[in-house]
Amino acid sequence: MNERPTPSAHKGAVHRPVIHDSAERHVTGSALYVDDMPELPGTLHIHVGMSERAHARLRAIDLQSVRTAPGVVAVLTAGDIPGVNDVSPVHAGDDPIFAEDIVEYAGQPIFAVAAETLQAARNAARLARIDYEELPAIITLDEALAAATDLAPAPELRLGDPDAAISASPHRLSGTLHVGGQDHFYLEGQVAYAIPGEGADMLVHASTQHPSEVQHLVGCMLGVPDHAVTVEVRRMGGGFGGKESQPALIAAIAALAARRTGRPAKLRLDRDDDMVMTGKRHDFRLDYELGYDADGRIQGARFEFAARCGRSLDLSNAIADRAMFHADNAYALPNAYVHARRMKTHTVSNTAFRGFGGPQGMMAIERAIDEIAFALGRDPLEVRRANVYPADGSALTPYHMAVTDSVLDELTEELAASSDYRTRRAAIRASNAESTAIKRGIALTPVKFGISFTTTHLNQAGALVHVYKDGSVHLNHGGTEMGQGLFVKVGQVVAEAFGIELDQVKITATTTAKVPNTSATAASAGSDLNGMAAAAAAQTIKARLAAFAAKKHNIAEEHVVFEAGRVRIGNQEMSFAELAHQAWMGRVSLSSTGFYATPDIHYDRATGRGRPFYYFAYGAAVSEVAIDTLTGETRLLRVDILHDAGRSLNPAIDMGQIEGGFIQGLGWLTSEELWWNDEGRLRTHAPSTYKIPTANDRPDDMRIAIWAKGENREPTIHRSKAVGEPPLMLAISAFSAITDAACAATGYRAFPRLDAPATPERILMAIREATGRAGKK
């Protein structure tokens, strides 16, 4: 038979909407998460005793009755730690596993109980007597600013002369916006299962985005080298950044119990403990001041941000930096100053969350543009389009990086047209005049998101590929699977490289024993980095196979071609399996590692200059909402999204990221509210009180498209673009649309100072305040 399918026709090829590799396991309940693994005999269960105070000195910790309670095998405190009592991801020494003298948030671990059953551990923990000497606690960001509790010096970004530009501008405005934090609410809570091995060895199954860091910090805690610790994760039940730095604490406690008792030990936080004990998205205070011209073109901008970091540094420096890098969002600012303070509070230490400060950073300028448009009586879209980064690469970001790949002008215009934005906006304004209780609003907002870890050395990845002599392939890489479809995408890359079906590629659990020194699966960079590393490994093996076949058949290497299911060697053909078998017989190594380091990126934090990002991901969304001006209740009525995923590796997976990211962002900006009481206790620590979106919050009319023209200008893996984080920020369109509707409630006479999340309460209060101002005019 001479019929040969084209390379892209086989099921595993890239750019095809292949289903998630675990989908059938998900729907049959046979996908194993850490807590589903069969426990070894003798497994202990751990419960953590937490601080009840936000800030206190520990006068005495009496655990006597805990130790003697039924079923208890070990009670662990700081004194039991053989190595270092710290799990700070940046080795700041400020993230103790167990508090020693001082507690700095309500929920901070003080001790742990390992018992025969979880119930026994929990019951015992309640018998602890802890004597606190209460100290003054700083809970809110404004309190922290008043007390100047900066955890770290804040770098600055400066382009041109912003102050002069602002004073020389014909129009100026300034304002403040508070943006709330967000709990990750991954459906699977934090969990680790530690199994002691011989000698100092420790195997930890952890639900983590960052196995190498868990490995290292567990090693430090135990006082053993990294080589003694193996961390493995097949899949997480969601991560969203919440399993980047946080799992080290959980794994460390489990490993400590395992070391101290010599028995396997599991720590799984229930939802409440998880929400109380582990970090969240930073809430921010955003102060802005801008000068602009009569067309709304921004002449100069000053952004002063403050992030609530909570009790320790964690990843706050990088997060606040990324907020600064996104203060411009999609807009070319000829003169700009950006600054972001990192404030300590006596609340849980905040951490990575999808977007990593970027979303918060963008909120200020999106708000400011809405306000400029209001002041000028213009359509905010016109003002946005007047300011977007030009395609010609002439504009610099506030960190002096030329934006050479901007598609914003084209993308926003295409979306404005396909969503019928302008007609709808006019219709909405007309209908608002007729409607008293209910007002509608609409907004189009763009996103430009920088891709790469801004800590340059993290932009590296490794992979390991084995080809077995039957032609089947074992794939391993440093990335972790949390639902984002990384495994299937990298599997597609390898299948494409060998010209084989995806089901011939076995996608295996991430483990520090196979690929070392990995970076977190984060910064949206999972498939960019690991896809390239896996492609490199496959390329090495392919080259060996080609050399072998060429030699054997006495032809040039370029005449060995890997196609769908077949390898063409000159004018002969054989299956990939046949060639693998022959190569094995010919004593060719069929295993290779692959490595990738993102080229051309550099950044100098001291001067605030460089090229921290390899490229930018772009997207835009239009949201239409209706609000009830009597109660502040909101409905999102329609959403149109156009997103640039480059040449998507897997459009089905990417569509899922776009929709899921948008809805998660919508929750952040509308219904998800973290509420601490005056004593600094989080009162929204379960889904009964913390409200993420449900199916009914998703508008029926949701039109999502991956931009057909998308193609990465940089030679990324098959010219795709990262897609994990950017879509979350598309939900800013909903926030702007709500602002527009609230403005309608004042008869378009005052601009409402709405903070996020835009709960019914905040909307009602913003309308009331703005209406008051309108009345005074």
Binding site: G483, G661, T689, K691
Partner: protein
Amino acid sequence: MGDAIRFLLGEDEHEISGVSPTMTVLEWLRGHARRRGTKEGCAEGDCGACTVVLAEPGGAGGLRTWPVNSCIHFIPALHCRQLLTVEDVAAPDGALHPVQQALVDLHGSQCGFCTPGFVMQHYAGWLAGSLTDRAAVKDWLAGNLCRCTGYGPIIEAGLAAGRADGPDTARRAATARRLDTLDDGRMLDLRHEDQRWLTPRTSDELARVYADNPDAILVSGATDVGLWVTKQHRRLTTLIDVTRVSDLAEIRDEEEALVIGGAAKLAAAHGPLARLSPDLGELMRRFASIQIRSAGTVGGNIANGSPIGDLAPALIALGAQLSLRHGDRERTIALEDFFIDYGRQDRAPGEFVAAISIPRPGATSRFACYKLSKRFDQDISAVMGAFRIDMTEGRVTAARIAFGGMAATPKRACNAEAALIGTAFQADAVERACAELAADFAPITDMRASATYRLESAANLLRRFHLEVSGAPTSATRVWELA
């Protein structure tokens, strides 16, 4: 008396004895049965990851099926029933069920942790024939959270499953027959360590058992009581399960009133309440989730005395009467009189809610109720307002306004009511009544809302009622009706 829980797990008969009766179905599945497809996402009935399906003989097809949150259901709920989990859905040869296939084909799972719950919720919908259109599918999913997908593909999968062929009736009938043989009609009396669980089968039996054990805790749907165990980690000793008291679950559509038995499920009451007033139907649609409503009861919602329960304000505004029974004695009180203070109700030890009687609003009445919460679906109300006025010859002759979330109990707004009586229910009178709300209520600030918002929005709900009574179409006053 029976001392073992007998049920079908999938097709296999199981018996449980010698364990704590307040063990949850989820704990039993994951820990004892080692079925780990069912997940725990919250242990409080709010995320749906633990959803399983229960079946018992009865209903239209001979087998009644409904989804429940296994995380807050105690194992005695399994007695004489079939328990189906995500492991039971595919065919024995491994062929995926249409519900599963649609979720796979439409990319309905990402991390997959919520997926078993969605599979079971869709499966329950498919069994019940409830996946009829988009709105129905979304309502059906109100109790299932997914943090990854944004729901679109899951909703599509529900619609696709709804179009597939329905369940095999012969197999259902066979299951019903097997279940029938499990039930010997006797009361269960489970004992374990210091715990005891009793399941009387008739009201008389309940009255006797409860009078004999006045310190016992009554358990109905356990959508509150379950959380005392899973969240507050309380050890409950003697429990009396009212869900097997068949005559207590009756709902009677009488001419003057709707009479709901003390153990009637919220789901069963949904239709009759909706017929009494469309607003009550809408309230029930937004009350928790299908899973919770399939287990929880109207009686439990009243008896728990919660200041933020949804039904009490609505039923108070409608003038409902509450019947309480102790031994052979039954008394009837006005519903509002049941609520004395926070955590205190007019209910003696050994006394139980026998029935709630809701008078039908007459032709001269206007009634509306509004639930206000941060999220539309499955959220506890920040404020729940219910309004009923009777007008004769253009004048308000009676006004009953009740709120939840505004005081330590569900409470009438007597001052506001008084400001309306005798008026023509026009804007000025309504404004006076709104101002009186500050005299009626001094609400608290908590994570659901501030005191200011509560007072202000309560007044605005009265204004909304006025707009609607004055003829505004609900499309101009009810933002949730817009799509």
